[in-house]
Amino acid sequence: MSVFEKIQNLDRRIIFVTVALAVILPLFFPLKLPVDITAPVQQLYDVIEDLPEGSVVLISIDYDPSGAPELDPATWSVMRHCFSRNHKIFVMGLWATGVPLGMRALETVGAGEYNKEYGIDYVDFGYIPGGAIALVNLGRDVHDVCREDVYGTAVDEIPMMKSIKSADAFGLVLSMSMGVPGSDQWILYYHARYRGNLATAQTAIGAPKYYQYLQTGQLVGLIGGMKGAAEYERLVNKYGLATIGMDSQSIAHLLIIAFIVLGNVIYWMEKRRKN
């Protein structure tokens, strides 16, 4: 058996181990590779910077724990940015399993890091069922869709909600999304009717689709995957999980590129040998 044939018939578990090592080793030996800021992330940062102080930012937690490694760092970074600018944060979600993630982020960042007060500076309405239909109604009448917050308090008893009646109240809507319902529904059902600033943070697998909406102005910003989250962490100068993960990402990508090149080279050489 030639070397080429041996490599072609390589036990795939060896590849699994090398990929695992590529992800694990940078955790113990950080390389601190540079993270450049891309335009879509910078645009979102600039929109939040330019909002008047006290603006309301709606953050929709449209992901579940499987999307947390990519979207939690983005959510936390955006919350840090908003609270540092004294904006108010309105949290809701189209995914039932995202509720604890939103609560944890608000408690850690809002109450923990910035001493913000619930009901005054931020509010959490948890899971809003209904997907697209809920969004159509949300823009028209927020109180009709969000009747109780995540703790069971009636919307009329929450001080922050007195000035939030319809889509006009939101300076920015940000969908942290990993699927359906998510950013698609926000763009097609909410933004198409009520306009305003809409941005999204996506898991990497969904990000390419949303660049077209940036070009048309339907989105004012886009955080794509862990890389985008790492960029935002750099912008707010608070390094977290995404920045740590980018070393692993880079090494794993280099390894996979090497595998692709190697696989193709061996394929062509084998083909040539047989001919």
Partner: protein, 212 residues
């Protein structure tokens, strides 16, 4: 202490799931069945108390909103297909769902996708904006975009054989498609590595406390 126990359970289940990469085994099976069972139970309870109860049962039985009898009846009709004799009744809720979905999606697709995307593609070419309003490289980008849109559309036009000039344009479309697939693949790799990183970080940071 309680959260510590859950971290250990989560860590053990993570390893059980990844053990499948070596080969199928009982640990993986147990973790898989736990996941499927928990998900089904969680969703059933969560959707009842967060969707059906506050939107249907509470307004109907506690607040006397008798209009909710209509969705309740439509909901029950979905189960009529379990019997052959009453299966025809399922057409009513399905027709309702299809009608609402079609009405909503038609408007959304036109207002949110077709019109803005067409405008975004062709607007830079109107009123001499190219190379005037937009800088050189942005203008080149818009030309590349327009060529990509048109050639990809030509590729998907199957009523004429892809030969000659038409075939050449279609082949250009294929190049654009390949670049799009490549970008998607790259992002997919990033997403999968992120998932792996999330679990690895959990194991070494939250569970074993080996890294800070």
């Amino acid at each position: 202490m309680t959260s510590g126990v859950w971290v250990w359970i989560a860590g053990a289940l993570t390893l059980a799931i990844y053990s499948f990469l070596y080969k199928d085994n009982p640990f993986y099976k147990v973790a898989e069945y736990i996941f499927v069972g928990l998900s089904a139970g969680y969703w059933a309870v969560y959707l009842f108390w967060n969707f059906a109860y506050p939107n249907l049962f509470q307004p109907l039985f506690s607040e006397g909103n008798y209009w909710n009898i209509i969705p309740l009846a439509l909901g029950f009709m979905m189960f009529t297909q379990l019997s052959r004799r009453s299966a025809w009744l399922v057409r009513f809720p399905l027709t309702f769902v299809l009608g609402v979905s079609l009405g909503l999606q038609l408007i959304a697709a036109v207002e949110g996708d077709v019109v803005p995307q067409l405008a975004g593609t062709f607007e830079p070419f109107s009123r001499g904006a190219l190379f005037n309003t937009y800088d050189f490289w942005t203008s080149i980008g818009y030309i590349v975009l327009l060529v990509g849109v048109l050639s990809t559309l030509v590729y998907f036009f199957f009523s004429r054989e892809h030969k000659g000039v038409f075939g050449g344009i279609a082949r250009t479309g294929v190049f654009y498609l390949m670049i799009a697939f490549g970008a998607s693949f790259g992002y997919t790799v990033m997403a999968r590595v992120s998932l792996l990183f999330g679990r690895v970080h959990f194991i070494f940071h939250d569970w074993l406390h080996i890294i800070r």
